[in-house]
Symmetry: C2
Subunit: 155 residues, 2 copies
Amino acid sequence: MNNSDIVFEQELKSRGLRFTAQRRAILNTMMENQRKHLSPEEIYDIVKVNSPDIGVATIYRTLLILEDMGLVRKINLDDGKGRYELNKNQEDHHHHHLICEKCGSVSEVKYDLLEQLEEQILKENEFLVTNHSVKFYGYCKDCLESIKNAKCEQC
Amino acid sequence: MNNSDIVFEQELKSRGLRFTAQRRAILNTMMENQRKHLSPEEIYDIVKVNSPDIGVATIYRTLLILEDMGLVRKINLDDGKGRYELNKNQEDHHHHHLICEKCGSVSEVKYDLLEQLEEQILKENEFLVTNHSVKFYGYCKDCLESIKNAKCEQC
DNA sequence: ATTCATGCAAATCGTTTGCAACCCA
DNA sequence: TGGGTTGCAAACGATTTGCATGAAT
């Protein structure tokens, strides 16, 4: 039982919820697959290896709890399913995703130049920004190269 | 038959597609509801008023065509359904959405400070950005006020 | 013992698809 | 006339829900 498990157990208790083997297995799976943007189905497949009797519903129900606790964050990668990533700490909070429109790969950037813009929004729109989601679409390194090569063949 | 209808008809013809009453009605609905972020279902309900026999499938199929032509843009407002907005012109391209987490309202900001960041991404990640999606979550003007008022009652 | 959590299957929601009838070019 | 288009309903994939059973405190 690691540190995160203990934190999780405390959080659950303080909400009158129980620390079950399934919930523990799901959180551990999230920790062992950081930066992977797993879908509920993928988490299900991983957890099933050691807990064959688990059901998908438990994955969905647990992810809701983890998200509500701020231990996990739900993101949208435009592939029609939910994606979840570990919410390690606050500084980790502001990273953005690079989605390759050719191969579908997802990488990350950590810059955050949005504070300034958010102040401006508060002043001009009277809207208080508490969070944001930024996605960049384009071509990853590998696909840029394969496009370059494909063009050369036609020369 | 307005200007956009003519453009639409030409675009359809150039692709070997037909200019039907249904397609026209759907594009007109999009134009009459700019900045509304309509879902396919909502578009369906509006179009149905004047074309009671239309089916949802036609809405979906037509939106795909309009999106492919660049006349319409699909966005994601985290409510589990697709949302569409008119893609009026290129300058209109870079606006972002402000999503109120209390009342769910969606407004817009037009600033775009991302070019600089995208250059940096190209250099450091070798990822060529061709498009982006930016969403800000927080509290709209009205909800900020109601929160303020609620707090005062407790004083 | 009590109350919450689970697995299962059925239900739901948004979207897509197959197909026969339809209609624009 | 012929091939794209439509409405309908069935199919689909992701997620949610009801419920009887099972497990944590």
